[in-house]
């Protein structure tokens, strides 16, 4: 079945509106991002790393691009392995000495320092002594400790060290004698481990946590924000699309059924619609989320369910009523068309011109609804979404703490999706409803 305006004709018309092209480009961009995300980051991996964060990521790191906005070069995350390894055997054991060299050239202190140790040895604990040598020749002892199995030595969280240095280790170790200014240059971490096992080995790594990470930065739980921003795209698009399709189709079919059968069927549909129109959607969703489950698919179901008898029925009914009385409908009955065929094939196509733009502009409203729910704390418990990023940012007072990127990135994505669909929708409206053109 073809419309009065063919598909090719619609596209040709649409191309005359730059805003439509921009809208289509934005939508395609978002779709491409969504598809790329689905292809490269498996669902299980996304959910897992969003739930627990990733140990190698710095806390609250800015996006890399923020470096261009401020003077100096912010530290990147680095992992440094030992460059010199010496071993010295003694009866019943082995002494390992390793040095990790750090050429510090950044203009700011790192966000954290930690040492990762992976020893291979017998049951008995080893002894470990750590030393720090600054470029200006000072020696700072970092204390000694027992070493059993894989260990993360969180230098920045070492209270005793912090007391001695006057500041947390990632400041104090890299500052000059006054403890204030950063001193660039070559630092050396010396590890001396005594194992009571002649065959013992030690792998050591110094982890320097940067101040910037990735395109979107990280949050307070060492989670890469770009993961949530990327995975939020397919979720937002799917939610918006499914909700828009579900509510539009059901609304349309119900309106058409009411108009076609008239009488009590229509009256019942109208009363149900009126009752439903005064039911507030958001509080109901909040209730469902609080009392039952905040699963995004449940929310989607409730949205569609409540959307079945939405205000759209009134609009579609008003448009369908005159169409029902059109002579061609009577002619169709006279040549034997069934009720279903008349409604689906003869009546509904007439309102497609109004339906399509409305549908397109409806999609982002559901994207926003999902984000609103997440901001209200009713986001899906496992899936990373844009709204949940905003929710976290709010909970962590992101703007007060200067983590503007934490709010801006998801907000920008939400705005872009709204903008894309709105620009396309308005242009479609002009193409399908030419009378609007001169307004």
């Amino acid at each position: 079945m073809s419309l009065g305006i063919g598909r090719r004709g619609t596209w040709a018309e649409l191309r005359r509106y730059p805003s439509a092209l921009a809208g289509v480009a934005l939508i395609l961009l978002l779709v491409a991002l969504a598809l790329h995300t689905l292809a490269t980051v498996p669902y299980g991996q996304a959910v897992a790393s969003w739930r627990s964060g990733e140990a190698h990521l710095p806390v609250n790191a800015r996006p890399v691009w923020s470096d261009w906005l401020s003077p100096g070069r912010a530290p990147r995350s680095e992992r440094l392995s030992a460059e010199t390894r010496e071993s010295e055997a003694f009866p019943g054991g082995r002494r390992l000495t390793q040095r990790i060299e750090l050429d510090y050239t950044y203009d700011d202190f790192p966000s954290e320092l930690a040492l990762f140790l992976r020893p291979q040895h017998s049951e008995r604990a080893a002894f470990l002594r750590l030393g720090w040598q600054t470029p200006d020749g000072r020696e700072i002892t970092l204390g000694s400790r027992r070493l059993v199995g894989e260990t993360r030595v969180a230098l920045s969280q070492d209270r005793a060290l912090e007391q001695r240095l006057g500041r947390p280790a990632h400041f104090g170790l890299l500052a000059g004698p006054d403890g204030e200014a950063l001193v660039p240059g070559r630092y050396t971490l010396t590890l001396e481990a005594v194992f009571f096992d002649p065959a013992a080995e030690l792998e050591s790594e110094l982890w320097l946590y940067g101040r910037v990470h990735g395109l979107a930065g990280t949050d307070h739980q060492r989670r890469d924000l770009s993961l949530a921003l990327r995975w939020g795209t397919p979720i937002a698009l799917a939610f918006g699309l499914v909700a828009a399709v579900g509510t539009t189709l059901s609304t349309l079919v119900i309106a058409a059924v009411g108009v076609w059968y008239r009488g009590w069927v229509d009256a019942l549909i109208q009363r149900l619609t009126e009752v439903n129109m005064i039911l507030p959607l958001l509080p109901i969703l909040v209730m469902v989320g609080t009392l039952y489950s905040t699963s995004i698919w449940l929310m989607l179901g409730v949205v569609v369910l409540l959307g079945i008898f939405s205000a759209g029925i009134k609009t579609y009914r008003a448009m369908l009523l005159p169409i029902r009385e059109a002579p061609y409908i009577e002619a169709a009955r006279a040549y034997g068309a069934s009720h279903l065929r008349i409604v689906m094939r003869y009546m509904l196509p007439r309102i497609l011109p109004v339906l399509i733009p409305t549908f397109v502009t409806l999609i982002p409203t559901f994207v926003f609804l999902e984000a609103s729910l997440a901001v209200l704390g009713l986001g899906d418990p496992v899936l990373p979404t844009w709204g949940k990023v905003l929710n976290d940012a709010q909970a962590q007072s992101a703007l007060y703490n200067g983590y503007y990127y934490w709010v801006l990135a998801p907000a920008a994505l939400l705005m872009l999706s709204g903008l894309g669909f709105a620009m396309l929708g308005f242009a479609l409206d002009r193409v399908f409803n030419p009378r609007l053109r001169n307004l």
Binding site: M1, G4, G263, A267, P327, E330, A331, R333, G336, R341
Partner: protein, 324 residues
């Protein structure tokens, strides 16, 4: 000639309700009408706007349910048909509407408009195209090739009405009902369309029922005329007899109202019936024409319904004047 359509004691009333359930009354659009259409016959049903002639047509097509009485097509009663039989009946009754501009779906092209009845009636795909082309040629919508892809709004009024006629004929009906087929067309194309219907009726041996309020052209296209007034059939006769010697006072008044091209008649006083047709929600008792009738007889016309009187060969008139 055998009877194709038999209508007996047919009433079609529409209930008027408030708020969907309070019954306020019924519009008696068609009331106790009886008529018979013979196979291959061409008849005209005439009357003023709102006299029930379109409702009668729709009831003949099975689009309205009779409130009372029955319509038989080839001996079978319409309201007793099952869904499948009704669908088959719809293939044997074509319908040409008054408004050619609204009679076709604006979003379908000519090919699809003509294909729809074929699809619905289960005609095989391979056969459709040939039938569509044949139908277009029959109504002289040529060049066929050029027209197949056009949408209704690209066609002229006359072309659109030809398309509607082609659609009505494409299923090979035995009965064709044309409800004021030319009233919305330019005078220049009216004759063409009427000639077309006449020719097709002759070629196909169709039973053709014209519905019209235009008595001036009826003589050329119908063999018999039925005159309706306020839901009732008041007079029926062969066309020449009715036009030359009308017997019912309403028919006489109606014929008197025809515009006469003779300039000398411009100043002649006409006998026009005073007043308006009655409300069908609350029609007058007795003869429905009596409030406007110059010959109304008090105590008779306003009390009792006049029966149909035979006033000539195939000529019947429902008026108490003929009672002797």
């Amino acid at each position: 000639m055998s009877a194709l359509v038999e209508v007996e004691d047919l009433s079609v009333h529409f209930e008027v309700r408030q708020w969907g359930f309070l019954r306020l009354g019924a519009v008696q659009a068609v009331d106790r009408v009886a008529l018979t259409l013979a196979e291959g016959e061409s008849v005209a049903i005439v009357g003023e706007s709102g006299c029930g002639k379109s409702t009668l047509a729709r009831t003949l097509l099975g689009l309205h349910r009779p409130t009372q009485g029955e319509v038989r097509f080839a001996g079978r009663e319409l309201s007793g048909l099952r869904r499948r039989e009704l669908k088959a009946y719809r293939a044997s009754a074509g319908y040409v509407q008054q408004d050619p501009f609204g009679a076709t779906a604006p979003f379908l092209d000519v090919r699809r408009i003509l294909a729809e009845p074929l699809i619905i009636q289960g005609v095989k795909r391979a056969e459709r195209e040939a039938r569509i082309r044949a139908a277009l040629e029959e109504v002289h919508l040529t060049p066929v090739e050029e027209l197949l892809g056009k949408f209704p709004h690209m066609l002229s009024g006359g072309q659109q009405q030809r398309l509607v006629i082609a659609r009505a004929l494409i299923l090979g009906p035995r009965l064709l009902i044309a409800d004021e087929p030319v009233s919305m067309l330019d005078a220049s194309v009216r004759v063409e369309i009427l000639e077309l219907l006449r020719r097709i009726q002759g070629q196909r041996r169709l039973t053709l029922a014209f519905i019209t309020h235009d008595l001036s052209t009826v003589r050329h296209y119908a063999e018999r005329i039925f005159v309706m007034y306020a839901g009732r059939l008041v007079e029926s006769a062969p066309v020449d007899e009715l036009l030359d010697a009308p017997r019912h006072p309403y028919t006489q008044a109606l014929l008197g109202a025809i515009a006469d091209p003779d300039a000398a008649n411009a100043h002649r006083q006409r006998e026009l019936p005073a007043g308006e047709p009655p409300s069908l929600l609350d029609p007058p008792r007795g003869c429905r024409f009596h409030p406007r009738c110059p010959h109304a007889m008090a105590g008779l016309c306003d009390r009792d319904d006049p029966p149909d009187f035979d006033v000539g060969a195939q000529h019947r008139s429902a008026c108490w004047l003929h009672r002797e």
